[in-house]
Structures are given as C-alpha cells and as structure tokens.
C-alpha cells in the first residue's frame, strides 16, 4: 500500500500532518496513510474553538466502521478554527485527507522544526505497512 505523503508538510509519529499557514497558524489533519488504515470514516468528534492544547494532547476522535482513534495536537497552541463540514461528511478525510479533510487550525508560536519531515514520516509508514501489528486501525478485538 503506497500512500501520499506531500513533501511540503510536517508530520507526527501519531499520523497527524501539519501545514504552516501564512498568518502564523497551522492546519492539522490525519495522513493518507492513517485514513487508509482506519477505513471508511463514519464520525469525527471535533474540538471546541478556543480550547488551549498542549503537544500530544488528545483533542479529536476519528471513528471508522472498525475502530476509533484519538487525534493528537502536534504542538502547543489554541484552536482557532475547526472543520465543521466533517460533522455531516466525515468521508472528506478519506477522500481528501490533506485538503477538504483538514480537522482543525491551531494558533501557535511553537516551531515546526521539531516535527517529522516527509522522509522521516514515510519511513514510519512503510515500517507499519510491513508490520501491521499494533497499528491504529487494527485494535485487537477482545471482550
């Protein structure tokens, strides 16, 4: 499975992508690789605008027919805008993960340099494809 990993974006090990905007904010979503693993999304719980978050804090949930997974903030900051369209069309994340499927916009002063570049993220994605065990879309079912 090969997934799209745009070179101009930054990434996290937990499969978020980060785009730097001109106004000093960053836009966050989940990667093409992540949406492939999750399968068809049926629900997205978006955060509230105005919420202050710290890096690696859980602030959204993406739910597919087979799994639910937390989305973590890649950086410290405040949420200034959320993608309301996901409430009715969670499939936007499957169809266009880096465009229409964005999840939230963060006002932050943190530097992006600490995040993964496309090459480093690709290595993680490839390693996961080879070893499906423990990936976010493959929770072990137990009761």
């Amino acid at each position: 499975m090969s997934s799209i990993i745009p070179a101009e974006l930054r990434y996290t090990e937990s499969h978020e992508w980060v785009r730097a905007n001109d106004d000093g904010t960053v836009t966050v979503g989940i990667t093409d690789h992540a949406q492939h693993l999750l399968g068809d999304l049926v629900f997205v719980e978006i955060p509230e605008v105005g919420r202050t978050v710290t890096a690696a804090e859980s602030c959204a949930v993406v739910e597919s027919v087979k799994a639910a997974s937390d989305v973590y903030s890649p950086l410290d900051g405040a949420i200034v805008e959320v993608n309301e369209a996901l409430a009715d069309k969670p499939e936007l994340i499957n169809e266009d993960p880096y465009g229409e499927g964005w999840i939230f916009r963060l006002k932050t002063t943190a530097a992006l340099e600490g995040l993964l570049d496309a090459k480093a993220y690709e290595a993680i994605a490839i390693a996961e494809d080879e070893d499906d065990e423990g990936s976010l879309a493959n929770p072990k079912l137990a009761d």
């Binding site: 629900f43 719980e45 509230e48 739910e63 597919s64 087979k66 799994a67 639910a68 937390d70 929770p139 079912l141 137990a142 009761d143």
Partner: protein, 451 residues
C-alpha cells in the same frame, strides 16, 4: 456433573503449551494476600434432592404478606405468558451472545425492546439495558459529564427527593472520578423539588440536573419548569422515571421546551417479579446527538448483502473491545433475560393495557391514602399530586408500626426515618393494581389497631 469442563490432562496440556510448570505458577502474579485459599465457612455439598428439600422447607416457612411496599420495586401482575415464553431455550440466556449476529432472534428481541422504550420515553435512542435503575443513573451522570461541552464542571444537581439508594450508588460509582453531587432540597409542604430552590445555583457551572418523576415520595415534580431551567443554564436534563407512570404522564422527550436529554430508570415494573430484590434491569435512553456518549450495547436494524432485513450490534466504537480505556463504560453486558420479559410484558399489555395498569395503581393509592388518613393521627405529609406512592405521617415511629402490621400479615410500606429523619414518623405506602377493595380495608383496619 462437573462445572469445569477441563480434565486434569487438559489442564496439563494447556500449562505445557504456555510453559507454566503448574497452576500455582500461572497465578503467581496475584499477590497471596488477595487470594482466598480455604473457605472454612462453606458447608459440605448437598445432592440435588437434599437442596430441593432444603429450599422447599425454607420457601414454605416464608410469610406471604400483603404488600403495600414500593420504594423503587413494585408488585405488578405479570401475565402468565411472559415467563412461559422467556423460559424457552431460545431466550434463556442472560447474556448478549458472542458472535451476536448469529443470534438474529435475540437481537430482534433487543431491537423491539429498544423501540418500545424509545416510544415510551419519547426519546430517539434506547440501549439494550444496564444492570439496574441506580447504576443506570450513574451511567447517565457519567454520560452527561462527557457530553456537556458547554460545561467545564463535573458537578451534578441531585434532588434530595430522588431515591436515596440511587444517590448512594451514584456517589459510589462517580466520586473517585472527581464528580460532585450537589443536593437540592425538597419543598416541605409539597414534597417536590421547587424551581425556586434552584435560583441559588443560577449562573454556576453544572453538567446536569437529575429530575425524578415521580420522586421517591411518589410526588409529581414540575418537570417542565425544571427541564427548562436546566437548559437555560446550559445543564443537561437527566430524567429518572418510573416506566409504568409514563403510560399516563408526559414522556421525558416532551418535557419543557425541548425535552430531557437523557432518560433512565428501573425496569423491574415491566415484567420482573419482586424476587427478593433482583435481578432487575436498568434502562437508558437519550437524544440522537448524545448516542456516541451512551454506554451499553445498541442493536440496529439493517439489510444484508442480498437486501434482506437483519439485526446487528451497532456503534461499537463506543465499547471497550474497541475503545479500550476510553470506552463510554466498562459495562459490556445487559440484563437480557429481564429485558426479554419486559418486551413480552409491554407487547402483551400494549399501550392501552399499560395505561390501565398505571391508572389502577394511581386510583388504588388514592383510595388507600383516603382510608388511612381517616384514622386519627394519620395524615398526608405532602399536599402535591402523587402517582402510586404517598408519604403518611404517623403518631408513632414507623418501624414499630410496620412490625405491628407484619404481625397482621401486612407489609405496610417503607420507613422513611432512616433516610429522611426530618420527616419524623413518616411511612411511604404504595398500592398497585394488584390490591383490591378488601386489601385496602384489611390494611386500614390493621393500621387503626396498630397506631
């Protein structure tokens, strides 16, 4: 017959496969202090006929008093067909089956149950049930704290007139999660939770208000005003209701301007016998927007690849086998057998039958209160309308009066002095549709003698 199917050889084979030398080694991560070891108080095993004889003897020695006790569990007539059908092999399992979709009949029963409960409460969604009414309220509280995004608080307004055991159960389940229950006083004249008492809390941050209907005193609350107050203050409204009463009262989905948000209660009145306190079942319903915060199993109706209708467990991403520690609850079961009985009970009675039951309960309780309050020294404690229970003031301690009544073969009600000492000698009485004229007369005569 052995109840553990593994032979010693099976056990040895399994231990060998996982590389454990013996059973001791398998369990060695459980600290010795937590292990029971010997059970010296356990009597010697009896064989089947010895057990039958022992239980027959004990059952025969049990008094069968005439019951005027409610306080959360109610004696109703259960049509004979209900438990005849529940006892069929196809239904006789208390559990949601593993590989549930293979059990279409069981899923259909749960789906019918959910549909009936949603109809009765006028809510969008019902789950497949919880353990009992008290734990259902605890789940409703947890759900409200998660769901109310306008509130940052973990505080819940809980009327003192709500069932004391429910309040204690909720406290036990939620207090270690930092959730605080704030008690609302009741009106000493009406026995209800006055909206005016809420004024103190206006503008403060709470996640939800619990609204009992009827409340523990049997009194009807001003549910419209309470629901609207909660919503104006950005609180969720949790309705705690008696399901029989809903046949004659406004359903929670229609309370106030926009209806309650979460509805819960004890399902025992719908087809479960009193049975010394259980098993019963809890019900939990909510608005569609809150369904992802709902705990418990949900059955949905769908179509298979060939377009044929079928039933399935749905929205499972809420549950612990998928969401793990972030699941909406660690309850992954339901009271399937009691729910099957409730489904049959509701189906056999129909809306009209349930309404007749509710109306008869109300009429009998009114007639009972009228007779009893003619006895000198006995009066009503509150003046507001009731459903099928009422509080009486007595001239003597209720405990003594109840002992006296029991000597007449009458279970006279619930002594309120332990939970509500401020009420003095107060007794909660109930007369369901199973009581007739002669029963009421017998109670009145006995009480006149005892007080």
């Amino acid at each position: 017959m052995p109840f553990i199917p593994h032979t010693p050889a099976d056990v040895q084979a399994m231990l060998a496969a996982i590389g454990a030398p013996n059973l001791e080694a398998l369990f060695d991560e459980i600290p010795p202090v937590l292990r029971i070891g010997e059970l010296p108080a356990l009597p010697e095993a009896l064989n089947e006929w010895q057990v039958s004889r022992l239980l027959d003897t004990r059952a025969a020695a049990m008094p069968r008093p005439l019951c005027f006790l409610g306080a959360g569990a109610y004696e109703h007539h259960i049509p004979a067909a209900v438990w005849e059908i529940v006892g069929r092999g196809e239904f006789y399992s208390a559990y949601t089956p593993y590989q549930p979709e293979a059990s279409q009949g069981t899923l259909q029963v749960l789906y019918e149950y959910q549909s009936m409960m949603a109809g009765l409460t006028a809510m969008d969604v019902s789950n497949a049930s919880l353990y009992d009414g008290a734990s259902a309220l605890a789940e409703a509280v947890l759900m409200a704290v998660r769901a109310n995004r306008k509130s940052k608080s973990k505080r819940i307004l809980m009327p003192r007139a709500l069932h004391p055991l429910y309040r204690r159960t909720v406290h036990a389940i939620v207090h270690n999660q930092g959730i605080e229950l704030v008690e609302l006083p009741y009106d000493p004249v009406g026995g209800h939770t006055p909206v005016e008492a809420l004024a103190t809390y206006a503008g403060q941050d709470f996640a939800a208000l619990a609204i009992p209907q009827p409340n523990f005193f049997g009194t009807l609350e001003d549910v419209d005003a309470l629901t609207d107050w909660a919503h104006r203050q950005n609180l969720l409204a949790i309705a705690v209701v008696n399901p029989t009463a809903l046949a004659v009262l406004k359903p929670p989905g229609e309370w106030g301007g926009t209806g309650a948000d979460i509805v819960c209660g004890e399902g025992q009145p719908l087809g479960s016998p009193l049975s010394s306190g259980g098993p019963y079942f809890g019900f939990l319903c909510c608005r569609q927007e809150l369904v992802r915060q709902m705990p418990g199993r949900l059955v949905g109706r769908t179509v298979d690849l060939d377009g044929k209708p079928g039933f399935t467990l749905t929205l499972q991403a809420r549950e612990q086998h998928i969401r793990r520690s972030k699941a909406t609850s660690n309850i992954c079961t339901n009271q399937g057998l009691m729910v099957t009985a409730a489904t049959l009970y509701l189906a056999l009675l129909g809306p009209k039958g349930l309404e007749q039951v509710a109306a008869a309960c109300h009429a009998n309780t009114r007639a009972l209160v009228e007779r009893l309050t003619q006895i000198p020294g006995v009066s009503r404690a509150f003046n507001r309308p009731v459903f099928h229970e009422a509080v009486l003031k007595l001239p003597r301690p209720a405990g003594e009066v109840l002992d006296g009544l029991l000597a007449h073969g009458i279970l006279g009600g619930f002594d309120l002095s332990g939970d509500y000492p401020e009420l003095g000698h107060a007794l909660l009485v109930c007369a369901t549709e199973t009581r007739d004229e002669a029963d009421l007369q017998r109670y009145a005569e006995a009480l006149a003698e005892v007080v």
